[in-house]
């Protein structure tokens, strides 16, 4: 046994991380995969059994996943995915993700019964103010996954939710059933040009006029974020945006995941993993 290769402590699915004291908020854990299905040709829905600590995840927070490799090489960095659904009663957390590169292609190979190494819950989640009666969430693409749990939580607190879901066409409006359960769904599509900024602006202005917009939440599109930011500023509506950036540690030390923010006219870099991923909409700069 003089020759031991890549026996890193917790090779995907190999051995159990040491138990962590309870006052430590996050953990590295191995989660059995419960189910893993294609939602459409690009997106997959992953359900894993979660430990009590993982179940403390709040909407907008994320986990950093050690994806299995899709090829003969190893994957050396984790991939962040925000929580898509928190099933407290069932002891499960769910992810909804798009297959884009090696990491997500590798993740897609997991089968029910396999185990996935996750680190989390991580980051700053969405904030829900008790005074809000009605919120608007506006998402596109993977942003829908990130916005789902805050919509659920809001509905659970008796807050009205309007979910504007933007997509290429009908097939890519995902989770509309989930959003439908918790509020009103307004799909806007590229295929019929209803996703044009002008149209989304009309819809948002309508909601503001109807007093159905006490707060804005957005994720997944720079174009839509800029729109929401402008309207929020004009109408004095508090807003939150969930951001993405390539990560390494996911925990704060490495400063890999920085993005630009603007606070009182001064630009600064913040780490998406620990100062976010949810930020004040007015401070986000976009690209």
């Amino acid at each position: 046994m003089g020759d031991v290769f890549a026996s890193a402590p917790f090779i995907v699915g190999k051995s159990e991380p040491p138990p962590i004291e309870t006052d430590i908020p996050a953990e590295e854990a191995l989660c059995p995969v419960i189910s893993h299905d294609w939602v459409n040709e690009e997106y997959k829905h992953l359900v894993v059994a979660a430990s009590p600590k993982a179940l403390t995840v709040r909407p907008g927070q994320f986990f950093n996943l050690l994806c299995p490799s899709p090829d003969a090489g190893e994957l050396w960095l984790r991939r962040p995915q925000s929580v898509y659904r928190i099933d407290d009663a069932g002891g499960r957390i769910e992810f909804l993700y798009k297959c884009v590169g090696r990491g997500t292609r590798g993740l897609a190979t997991l089968k029910a019964g396999d185990r996935l190494n996750i680190v989390g819950p991580l980051g700053v989640g969405f904030h829900l103010d008790p005074s809000w009666r009605n919120i608007v969430v506006l998402g596109r693409g993977v942003g829908l996954a990130t916005l789902a749990p805050i919509s659920q939580l809001a509905a659970g607190c008796g807050v009205g939710v309007t979910a504007i879901l933007s997509a290429r066409n009908r097939d890519f409006i995902m989770a509309d059933d989930l959003f439908g359960e918790v509020g009103t769904v307004v799909p806007v599509l590229d295929s019929d040009r209803s996703s044009d900024v002008e149209n989304v602006e009309r819809i948002l202005l309508g909601l503001i006029a109807a007093k159905r917009a006490d707060a804005f939440f957005t994720c997944g599109s720079n174009r839509l974020m800029q729109l929401m930011k402008r309207l929020a500023r004009q109408h004095g509506i508090p807003g939150q945006v969930a951001m993405e950036q390539v990560m390494a540690c996911g925990l704060g030390p490495c400063y890999v995941c920085v993005r630009t923010f603007e606070v009182n006219g001064r630009k600064e870099l913040r780490r998406v993993c620990i100062e976010g991923p949810v930020f004040d909409l007015q401070e986000a700069v976009g690209w």
Binding site: A8, P18, I20, I24, L77, V256
Partner: protein, 315 residues
């Protein structure tokens, strides 16, 4: 019971497992009990606020990662006022890491971090992500000697000098650091590399060149640790590509007194503690009462297996 303590000059660590600068902060307490570590090693700090390099700041390689963070820092004042007290909420000794562009500033920085709360000063003269040519003090014997001498005179604290694996003759640099009065050597920082995205034809990271870390660099750095351990008397801290117990053993056999780990923190945030436990277990199984006995225990003779013996006359 295995005695896990190691001595680096006059600093005794309760075990040889340390994080590497730039991969660690107290934020790791989110997922692990950082009080179990041999020491806490802070991110390199320089005098002024530095924003760092443009993203993307990392990319994956065949056997690890390439990074070019560019030493972002909030500057020395912020470090002393906010970060040092933050570290002091924890028990392991604090290693502060400093960087500067001139020997003058290195000397001044040394005086600045020479506060009671900082137990050790690590001198980062070897970050390849600041100068894309890889040119830094640790690339040159005389620069190393000069800057380390100035630092030595400026403080009575233990000073650890972090070397660059990009130097052609790392042994000469090690000797220069020792001659200048360094208390220990950290071998090494990252290896300068380039990854090109063959779809976009552009570099994979924002700063073009970056530092390679992770398992692929281990055999190179283990060699440097061994070469230097034969040439200097001061302790060596091995750093590069450690992801498992066996890697720590290999570094110690090669001559390291302790180790530091960066990459593994990203892969397995609780990995350092798993390795710490595993190392104790390994020592127990192999009958080592003290982990320190592994240091330099490599038998510097060819393998004795059958197949080595099979070509006897060429010895």
């Amino acid at each position: 019971m295995v005695d896990m303590t190691v001595k680096i000059g006059n600093v005794t660590l309760k075990n040889p497992i340390m994080p590497a600068s730039g991969a660690f902060s107290t934020e790791l307490a989110q997922v692990m009990d950082i009080n179990r570590l041999g020491a806490l090693v802070a991110k390199t700090v320089s005098r002024e606020y530095r924003i760092g390099n443009p993203p993307p700041r990392v990319a994956e390689l065949e056997c690890g990662m390439i990074n070019s963070i560019g030493l972002p820092t909030k500057g020395i004042e912020y470090f002393l006022e906010h970060q040092v007290p933050d570290y002091k909420r924890f028990t392991p000794p604090l290693v502060g890491s400093i960087s500067a562009q001139t020997a003058d500033d290195f000397e001044a920085m040394t005086r600045d971090v020479d506060v009671p709360e900082v137990d050790v000063i690590e001198v980062n003269i070897s970050c390849p992500t600041r100068n894309p040519g890889g040119g830094n003090f640790a690339m040159h014997e005389d620069h190393t000697f000069n800057v380390m001498s100035r630092i030595r005179k400026a403080t009575a604290k233990p000073v650890w000098c972090k070397l660059s694996p990009n130097a052609g003759d790392v042994v000469a640099i090690a000797k220069a650091a020792e001659a200048a009065g360094a208390d220990a050597l950290v071998i090494a920082n990252t290896i300068l590399g380039l990854k090109i995205n063959i779809d976009t034809f552009r570099p994979a990271i924002g700063n073009k060149y970056g530092g390679i870390s992770g398992p692929g660099v281990k055999p190179i750095i283990v060699r440097m640790v061994h070469q230097c351990s034969k040439a200097v008397k001061i302790p060596i801290i091995g750093c590069g590509g450690i992801v498992k117990v066996e890697d720590v053993v290999e570094y110690m056999l090669a001559g390291a007194t302790a180790v530091m780990m960066g990459y593994i923190i990203f892969r397995n945030p609780s990995g350092m503690l798993a390795i710490l436990d595993g190392l104790e277990e390994w020592c127990r199984k192999r009958g080592f009462a003290r982990v320190a006995d592994l240091t330099g225990a490599m038998i510097d003779e060819p393998p004795m297996e059958t197949f080595a013996a099979a070509a006897a006359p060429i010895r």
